[in-house]
Subunit: 456 residues, 2 copies
């Protein structure tokens, strides 16, 4: 059973049905952060569970957590000598606003040219379906798998995997595995299969500045009362210096220096500045000048304002001093930084810098630390081989700017390392309007995953 | 006809009906800045016109402008030897959001204790009705007025009197008057009748910062693309120095120095810092330390953020770099500053300070310059005498932080100076939730205005 050919034939013969099934899943608006989508979250979990049952997985169950359920399933028929591969996925997606920038309904998966458009098509419903279809192809062709598998498909990745750590802790025995295949990281380009060896962590904050007890007339009180929107702007502006370096006290203390070898690896995967500008539409690049853009997203922590609101934002004008102002802030963390420490650093910054003319309140969402994965493991070798067979070239190894809490939690709570890959492309507009999936790459991805399971 | 006693008796006998009529006007949601209230604006204008007709005014008409109509009316039966007093008012009100902070429906005028609650009760429907009722009392008691009057009641004061200047220019002859009684300025306290001798001007701006073509994934692009919300915060923060001084180039060039006499006048009307803190609920006062709070609102220009919005402001979190960020800004101007010059100064600031990593766009609303009125005129003397008779004390003379475009426009286009007064109190919550009118003061105001017309 070392030959994937029957399974690969099955993949090619069933591609059109695979795509139809992906469209079904994309059509379920499983936005985990919005409570009005709670029923959709359940529907998406049930869809995944039904798929796992349909491809012969055993013990498939939808397991409740504090918020959105985890879908579990397993097939352990390969015996104790074969490795046990956990397959991770998430069935939740980001919100879709601003909706008016979408060219088609984000929850009506639409094929146009080489792309499937829809929220979650790339991040990561396409990847979840690719994993399921690879396993289906092997099960339907050979009647069994070359390895044992365990599925862990959560519904809270886009909100920081809030309940996953507790879930893993509680179900450590059930989740025991040699490693975890996590296809939630992307590729560098359609012709560059990629294995990700590092991920940034994430910390979430909400900073609320209050001043007067209510909105004030700006003529009657302007010049005597510190405007909370201005005070917030002052606090936010001070969080970076002129070179884009973050000023929170101690923020860079644990950030590792890049080795010469690491900088060379980064160089190999670096997109050109021109490509980055075209991809984003920004007028110029920005950030710490002593690092290249790919180093800044891969190996440097960040602090971003994700949202900001204060006062009158309707049509026309209203001459007030707003009573309050709010910013949503998140930090991408690199190895050895922790969300708890960053919260302390942010509080220290606010204590040092917030004036007595306003009050401030900081709340924190659940975050996760960063991860570095060894590039030399059984899983990485099996996947590299599968990529080489599929694309005809060795994969790139890169460190990603994104954050996947599950990676940290599995490592910490169950001792399971993650093998990070995926078939999303930088230009897929994930988290943005008009998210899309490059279908030729997706199809290659299914083939590559199919091959991967035979490489042990 | 130098005796106001019959008219004053009429005022006292009809107070309860006067209040009912004020409640009718407050119940019309005439929010000039929101297009969905266009029909309500028309209703409010019609209500005012019907009142003027009802009290014997001639030639009453609702005159269209580019947006909301002006109500005009006159009574010129006092003859050429008597002065002609224009009476100014505005029937439009500020928006009511945040609605959840109102204890009662803002458009259902509610009496509680000594107060009438409702949007516009103090600013300035209460003042408009007070003027109408004073004239009604004289007309109904004496059958004529001691002076000629012309009414100018506009519907765009809260949006910067956008079309009023053009209207005055076109109707200069119709609007010819010796001076204008404008009761849109307030009192210092319920026992301190006040005549305002200075007003600040107003300039409105909207600053929009754009960066990437769409919201970006903060993991994929954080650290390489300048976050527009951060860039906006940086630009806004830089508009004041640490002492609350505005940094726009040339902003203070034309600002007059305060004379010793002026500073003494300010001292007389200065509320205590404790009173200001209680009034506003702010934790501390703020602003240029070399000036007192009442000097800062009366004689110093300001720059305020009235509103600010960017990115994801819903429930939970969304890890994006927002595509754009917007701030609504207004400046209160002092004599010799002009909105046009301030716009140039703001543009110069942005040109100097906006980085190349973002794009910015500034739009301006219609503004007005500041006004200073002579404290020694026929009108001021007549009003001071009426206040003394009503309150038993001489009025205070003060310079106000607010802005009334009509004052500037009447001066510039028709050569008519304004006599600024009013019966609103600092704690009336104008432009804020739970706006209210202090009824005992309002009733005294009607008496004082009645007496005023006999003092020529």
């Amino acid at each position: 059973m070392t030959d994937p050919n029957n399974a690969l034939e099955y993949v090619r013969a069933n591609q059109s049905r695979f795509l139809d099934e992906l469209k079904e899943l994309v059509a379920i608006p499983s936005v985990s952060t919005l409570s009005e989508h709670k029923a959709d979250m359940k529907r998406a979990a049930e869809w995944v569970a039904a798929q796992l049952r349909g491809i012969g997985m055993k013990n498939v169950k939808i397991m409740p957590t504090g918020l959105h359920p985890v879908v579990y399933g397993e097939w352990l028929g390969a015996g104790k000598s074969a490795p046990t591969v956990m397959i991770y996925g998430h069935y939740d997606v980001q919100p879709v606003d601003p909706l008016d920038l979408w060219k088609t309904n984000p929850f009506e998966a639409q094929e146009r040219g080489d792309y499937l458009f829809g929220r979650g098509a790339s991040d990561m419903k396409g990847q979840v379906v690719a994993s399921i279809k690879a396993v289906e192809a092997i099960m339907k062709s050979d009647g069994k798998l070359p390895v044992n598998v365990k599925w862990l498909v959560e519904g809270e990745e886009e909100i920081g995997s809030t309940n996953l750590e507790e879930f893993i802790k509680k179900n450590k025995k059930m989740l025991a595995a040699d490693f975890c295949l996590n296809p939630d990281a992307g590729m560098t380009a359609a012709d560059k299969p990629t294995i990700t060896t590092g991920l940034r962590g994430l910390a979430h904050f909400e900073l609320r500045v209050t001043g007067p007890a209510r909105d004030l007339h700006s003529g009657g009180f302007g010049g005597t009362i510190h405007n909370p929107a201005q005070a917030l702007a002052e606090l936010l502006a001070g969080m970076h210096d002129k070179n884009g370096k973050i000023t929170l006290p101690g923020f860079y203390e644990k950030v590792r220096k890049l080795s010469k070898k690491e900088r060379e690896d980064f160089k190999r995967v670096a997109p050109s500045n021109k490509a980055l500008l075209e991809l984003t539409g920004a007028p110029a690049l920005w950030g710490e000048p002593q690092f290249t853009p790919v180093e800044r997203t891969g190996a440097r922590p960040t602090l971003e304002i994700n949202g900001m609101v204060s006062g009158f934002i309707g049509q026309g004008s209203k001459t007030i001093i707003p009573a309050w102002a709010l910013a949503k802030i998140s930090c991408r963390l690199v190895p050895d930084q922790s969300p708890e420490e960053v919260e302390k650093q942010l509080r220290a910054y606010l204590k040092q810098n917030a004036p007595k003319t306003i009050r401030w309140e900081l709340t924190s969402g659940k975050g996760s630390g960063a991860a570095l994965v060894s590039a030399d493991s059984v899983g990485v070798r099996a996947l590299a081989k599968a990529f080489e067979a599929t694309w005809g070239k060795r994969p790139l190894f890169k460190r990603e700017g994104g954050s996947i809490g599950a990676v940290i939690m599995l490592q910490k709570q169950a001792g399971v390392d993650s093998l990070l890959t995926g078939f999303g492309l930088p230009e897929d507009n994930i988290h943005s309007p008009n998210e899309r999936l490059h279908l030729p790459t997706w199809r290659k991805g299914i083939e590559a995953l199919t091959r991967f399971f035979y490489n042990f």
